[in-house]
Symmetry: C2
Subunit: 383 residues, 2 copies
């Protein structure tokens, strides 16, 4: 397999973008990525979208985006793994470049959630339709059950959950593309509207529109395009039962752990070697569970680690410096590549007010549903 | 890149399968493929589905199928390119094995169309939502325009279209998995109900449920599993504008031509070297246009070639020996891999009454929408 690098990135603002359509958003991110990379063509492209059908009545998304990006007749493939769709799209692009089949490959994602669709229903299709959705379960309900179990088994507190939101809003205020560029306090989180006990409004990522894209190429030609390519040193992907009730332990994200093990092994690094990470904080409890499954802290110790500032911008491993899904926004299909873009910028040293000092190795973890799929990438600065 | 072979295949019956669910169908095809290949595990899997969201309210399809197939925690990715979804899923599996990342990879597809969904609306999402669907266009309407243009430019006749259906039903009668195992006459086609002038009911592929799966591995280990592996010698994929009106020539499937050129080049063969082919005959006119775009006949000569029996079971290049989408059925996400399975069986010499004599090299062409995407694979018998 050839070594692979990221040479450019493009991101739209995330938010309620009523004046931009599904295709507008992807084209904006794609053009920015192509310009940022400085390439004069693409050989192939991948687009991650969770549910074009239910959100905007559009499938056949790969070709549509290739057309509007001015890239026909290149191969263009849409990939879906619920909220992990563009993390997986990135992995497909990595494999294609690594295989030697093609050289310049774009990977990205897009979701247009604010367009009149029944968002709660559309998102519920990431859960098990027959055994969860049909019975009335929603995602806040599923993550509330995970939170309750974590509190019961490990003594995790309501305040520790709130501190995840406070930290991510602190970072998001420093990200000009974030949906919510404002700080919140623990009291504001604890007094926000109840959504699904114990999760309140400020524990939940928002409904967002947005798109993200990066350009990959073989490492040995990356220096032709940029002085600061970022090498992809590890990839991992895993599945788990889509239905939460089928798992041995509600608090343990087995697919996250498995995908991380693969990525660490390929990269030849340990959790402690990671300088900065983006993890899938669709709800505050998800960041705590992800920290544990990624091996950053012991199982059950995620809440205490939050208390100690482990994941803060100046902590041992700064997590979700972008603001995370919580503050940056969560246009589901766009999230995976957006996480990778934050790590790319951190490793390039271009993250502005959010910059982590001496960041050399970064990790991005993107998850589908309540943990039914996970994809992890580890990247390293090349200078 | 490593050389790649197909070592096993599994197919459900196609049809209105009211007693089998979305997941039941894929599990049936997947288990058959695993058993047929004789492998004791999978390293990774790909599932092609056009619209799980609109047909059955289920996304997150890769992990769901991995779970019900008993394959968690392997990486499991759902791929979508409208009706070309599982042709593209097969290409993803090919690239993954070729790259060296994993060895034993399953590729398949599934669609459950008969489950109460608005099928015409769900299928229309393969067209351009803003510029075609919103204006009221449907797929029979789009292919009717292609047929009218072909008749106008090249003198293709109504009877020539009918003969495609007659030939495919002849083959389908000899396929125990086909939805319609019955022959039809030219008169029956010409007198069937009008759907979209000039296309009548018997020019159209049906609404179907079904699933298909194959197992791929590196060629150098394929003989451990089977005496008759089939080598994948060429792959090609291309995009075109999703909207039919954006194309220079309504009768020319540019994405098919482009994807075929790539596959021929990789395989080192010419159109005349192909012994048997499956092409995407969602409507009778599509088979005629595909024959031309694949280079089997000159542009505009597809109708005349049908008159001459070029594509018959005993013709120069037997096409759609399975019965094609027309007679075998067209569960959209399952079609691409099902075509590959027919070629696999032809090259293994196990196609029964449909067997083409001395078939050594076969081609499968799978298309999305009105030609907005196409994927072509060329396979060769290894003995």
């Amino acid at each position: 397999m050839r070594e692979v690098a990221i040479i450019g990135a493009g991101l739209t603002k995330f938010g309620e973008l009523w004046d931009k359509s599904f295709r507008d958003l992807f084209v904006e991110a794609g053009l920015k990525a192509i310009e940022n990379a400085g390439v004069d063509h693409l050989d192939s492209m991948y687009v991650g979208t969770m549910s074009g059908g239910l959100f905007v009545g559009q499938e056949h998304i790969g070709s549509l985006m290739a057309d509007y990006l001015g890239q026909t007749p290149i191969p263009a493939t849409r990939v879906e793994s619920a909220c992990a769709s563009s993390g997986v799209a990135f992995r497909m692009a990595f494999i294609e470049v690594a295989s030697g089949l093609n050289d310049i490959v774009l990977a990205g994602g897009v979701e247009k959630m604010n367009d009149g669709a029944d968002v709660t229903y559309a998102l519920s299709t990431a859960a098990d339709q027959e055994y969860e959705v049909y019975q009335g379960v929603t995602f806040p309900g599923l993550y509330a059950m995970i939170a309750r179990a974590h509190m019961h088994h490990y003594g995790t507190t309501r305040e520790q959950l709130a501190k995840v939101a406070v930290k991510n809003h602190y970072n998001g205020k420093r990200n000009p593309n974030a949906q919510f560029q404002m700080e919140v306090t623990v009291d504001q989180v604890l007094n926000s509207s109840m959504v699904a006990d114990p999760l309140r409004l400020l524990d939940c990522s928002p409904v967002s529109d947005g798109a993200s894209a990066v350009v990959l190429c073989p490492l040995d030609v990356a220096k032709k395009f940029t002085d600061t390519p970022v090498k992809v040193i590890g990839t991992g992907q895993a599945s788990d039962s889509v239905a939460l009730h089928s798992r041995d332990d509600l608090t343990y994200l087995a697919a996250v752990a498995r995908s991380a093990e693969q990525a660490y092994k390929m990269a030849g690094v340990k959790p402690g070697d990671i300088n900065v990470a983006e993890v899938h904080d669709c709800f505050t409890i998800a960041e705590i569970c992800a920290m544990e499954a990624l091996g950053f802290v012991e199982r059950g110790q995620g809440g205490k680690a939050v208390d100690e500032g482990f994941n803060a911008l100046d902590g041992k491993i700064p997590i979700n410096t972008s603001g995370g899904l919580k503050s940056k926004g969560h246009p589901v299909g766009a999230t995976g590549t957006a996480q990778i873009i934050e790590i790319f910028e951190q490793l390039c040293g271009t993250a502005g007010e959010r910059q982590v000092k001496n960041a050399r190795i970064g990790l991005a973890q993107n998850m589908g549903g309540s943990g039914g799929s996970s994809v992890v990438h580890i990247m390293e600065a090349v200078q």
